[in-house]
Symmetry: C2
Subunit: 229 residues, 2 copies
Amino acid sequence: MITSPHNEKLKLIRKLKARKHRERSGLFVAEGEDLVEAAEAAGAQAEFVLLAGRDVQPELLDGASELGSGTRVIGVYRERWAEPGGDLQVHLHEVGDPGNIGTVIRTAHALADGPVVLGPGCADPYSSKAVRASMGSVFARPPARAELGVLDGFKLGLDARAAVDLREVELDPPVVLCLGAEREGLPAGLGVDATARIAMRPDAPNSLNVAAAAAVGLYEVANRMARRD
Amino acid sequence: MITSPHNEKLKLIRKLKARKHRERSGLFVAEGEDLVEAAEAAGAQAEFVLLAGRDVQPELLDGASELGSGTRVIGVYRERWAEPGGDLQVHLHEVGDPGNIGTVIRTAHALADGPVVLGPGCADPYSSKAVRASMGSVFARPPARAELGVLDGFKLGLDARAAVDLREVELDPPVVLCLGAEREGLPAGLGVDATARIAMRPDAPNSLNVAAAAAVGLYEVANRMARRD
């Protein structure tokens, strides 16, 4: 039973709040029973797991937690990175919000066979906010890292300003669905093969949330590809 | 120029962080130029707007802000509540995350003609996190509050455990798309006319994020209703 806040495991958990330390060590933290169970279900081996009251005094675990008081369990895991591939994958460019990154990983796990591929300027999918938003899908379907240029497939950019409706675009699988920052959209010169927009009402906002747009895009493309089979 | 943290306007902004004070006063806060511009574009009259350096010392505005240092502008607005209605509206039941509430309001603004109707146990759409996630859509398309039972229309519940695929369900407009908490789903006895699921892969997670599910549901139902016309 850990009884000191200076314990090495607790110190590591606190350090892993910083992206720098996650990148150096290749480790990350998952808090809470749901995430620790998701890791087990996906066969991801923990470096260690601390259970409040069994392995560590509860108030010490609370002190190391990002969620604060009442944390029951924290696990430390090794980051895993997939290779790009599959009939349908997502590429994100400069998506800076970790909650959106995690939500897209969860949605792609539900609707696509390929990973979420993170391009430049994206938030860390292994930050605690992203891991929570993924609801554990980072364990079952680890993200990949690559520039769009090296990916194989038909690169379809989703952009609210595109002239072509997503429902009208010709799909040629495998498909890479590309999304960028909500405000800037996809930069010219990124190297997509086509861009399309999600049809919106005349009085609509300028754009959708990137995770909402990814969900609609994955749903539409996955449906169209299933009908081709 | 406000030079004291005890100024009444700054005190009001700080108080409005609490739901209790928002509900008592019927007022809420929007921080940042994007939201204040969205309010103007939607014709929402501010009670007052404080611009850093013009109306208030910048560090005092930072001190009243939820976002912290560097806040350029904060506006205080009167909450507006729509009446339920339209050919397609969303009903949320016990959706407790304010970011999800705001994102659904933004997506419904893009894809549906009716409001987002908040049932029991939902987060406050006028919390600062929800207002930010809505990207200002709360101004253009204020939410409504009602129990599902009083709404008119075909009430279609989205539930990952439903037997019927969303693409197969017979739609009879007007449609109310009902979503619940991600974990619990929709309770029995809520009074939906049908439930449907979004088709997911065999190895999929148990559910989608509620805002991602709402985006897919709105997209599918809006498309189907447009094809009927």
